[in-house]
Symmetry: C2
Subunit: 165 residues, 2 copies
Amino acid sequence: MTLKALIDGSRTAIEADPAKAAAVFAVSGRLVGTTEVAIRAGRHELTVDEPAALAGTDLGANPVEHALIALASCQAITYRFWAAQLGIELDSVEVAAEGDLDVRGFFGFDDTIRPGFTSVRLKVTPSGPEPAERYQQLADAVDEHCPVLDLFSHPTPIERTVVTA
Amino acid sequence: MTLKALIDGSRTAIEADPAKAAAVFAVSGRLVGTTEVAIRAGRHELTVDEPAALAGTDLGANPVEHALIALASCQAITYRFWAAQLGIELDSVEVAAEGDLDVRGFFGFDDTIRPGFTSVRLKVTPSGPEPAERYQQLADAVDEHCPVLDLFSHPTPIERTVVTA
């Protein structure tokens, strides 16, 4: 099945039953070392850790790197889907993401500094046989519809529960 | 070196030279299949993919799952650091994160629906020998200082560059 057929099929199915549009994603994990975290998402297991400068043993990418992995991969995949929607031929997409962090926020040395990224740079290189304007048009459609770019750009409501004995 | 000693050492070093507080994290990747993305973060390489329902082959967690992995692991590690800062004994931390997505936003079937998570539920279970109030106090400190919780909760400035031939 082509991607366009999958998208059209989803549209038909969701128009018939809007409840089919709802998806829930879930992960769970636990701290298994000083900073080592064992995480499961579906059938996938992975290790998140910090580098030595943050007391870890660098057994995996760290949490903020996973946030950038989410952003970069979401961009690449959203290019793929929207190229299919817009009928734009796309041979490849390269993505690089960088984020600046001021660790004074995380450590609480200065509570006027946010703990998260203060800025992020994203560089996307789509390529294929079409004129450059078509890939710019694609980029604009992607940025309107990329789930993780939306997460970075807008607040998401979080309901937090802390369970203590 | 204990975690407390690492934190105190960081404080001293950053007070002497505030430029030491600046950290840059970077990842890069490319689309290598229909939805398969090969990503590198430091020395770590991983595969991000979509499940079959989203045209992928489920070779790895998908982008929004990576965003939840970032959140869950950041919470766990921030519990570890802030327990050390506050002198709270912490034996373990379990974390579960769930996010709701309405795929009509991503597909552009309804542009009044945001493409990202419409809501996220986070459940954290810290445990150890101290009274429950101490872990609640820890949870409050964590939520003020967790980089990825901050990313989910507040907009982050993104500078995007699209490179076309």
